[in-house]
């Protein structure tokens, strides 16, 4: 089809099952009836996706900076130390 704006040729692309026409010249995008809704729905699904579980950590244990604590974790601080990470300092 022809671009309604600049009358150049439009090319059809398929993105996640949604047909999109894009103009080769001005890059404008033409959406058929219902296509915007399909895209919005796909985006909402993506945004709501649960973050992937952490992969079985290749970089474990994590690196410390040059000034890092040795040992890397004071076990006895656990409850107290992490719980202070809940407040602005």
């Amino acid at each position: 089809m022809q671009c309604p704006k600049c009358h150049s040729l439009m090319r059809t692309y398929n993105r996640s099952g949604v047909q999109i026409e894009q103009c080769d010249n001005c890059r404008g995008i033409f959406l058929d009836y219902g296509e915007l809704e399909s895209l919005t729905q796909l985006e909402a699904q993506w945004a709501q996706q649960v973050p992937p579980p952490p992969p079985a950590a290749p970089g474990y244990p994590p690196q410390q900076p040059a000034w890092g604590s040795h040992p890397p974790y004071h076990g006895h601080h656990k409850r107290h130390g992490v719980s202070r990470l809940f407040f602005s300092s």
Binding site: W67, H74, S83, L85
Partner: protein, 331 residues
Amino acid sequence: MGAGGHDAEVLSEARTDHALISGLVGRARDIAGVAGRQWDVLNDRTGLVVRVDDVVVKAHRNGTDAAILAARLRIATYLEAQRILLQPVRSREGRLLFEVEDRLVTIWPAGEPVRPDDVDAVPWEHAAHLLARLHTIPTRGRDVAGPLPPAGAPHRVARGVAGLGDGSASAEIRRAFATLPAWTYSAGDTPAGSGSVVHGDWHLGQLVWHGTARETPGWRLIDVDDLGIGAPAWDLARPAAWFAAGLLPPRDWGRLLTAYRAARGPAVPPEGDPWPALDAPARAFTVQSAAVAVARAREAGRPLDDVAIALVDACRRIANVALRPCGYGDQ
């Protein structure tokens, strides 16, 4: 809340400024339409925060700039559309910002935070995902219309160090402060290429579960007081500092970092050593947290606790590393 709440009429038992609390509860009734029978002071350190039924009313700290806060509230409205941050409650006339007893006040829906005594329940992956999405928001064009203020993290560092007194712990903290690059405590010196939208004061208390019929339920960030443009590494810097001080288990830090990378967050390179990117802001938050912990212990007439000692020890190591031949370079 609940058992810990107060009867709104019994203001004589308030822990902080009675008139201010009374005014905040009144605003919650007027603006948010809550009954306001129950209220509870959630925080009276960094601005007074009072929960009234299903809303939270915040009196921002003295000296807060109204124009800058208004700009931050505007970003919050945009970020709620992205399901990243809670958006403030509007009055019927569409206002977001109010005044009570000469303090700037905002009203928010109440979310459920992770409890500090339930550290195993921390949703590290969700937190990482939210931060990565915040950091990848385009800062130009129509998405975040209008100018964005700089993030408040450097100001927070400067304020922390300004409260230091005398004594050996304060001296250790000052030595560590002397290693910091200027951009970590002076917003005007922000390096080029650090233009992400950042929270600026991110920690585990800034994450709540929010679910209502109107909005999509999920984890959200809260608190816009330091929101703005800055280096995205600021938002990983406090947990990074806690990890480096031996206060956060490597497993937890690893979960946050791995998930942030998986979500393509821009604060650290996708793989390899994250510390070249994190080091300066993590040192800055170590200095700032140590300074505040020492100042609070002094005000309360208490000795330093385990956490304060671990942070001051980290400051000593920071200063000692700086004395080595390779030091911190340009970081």
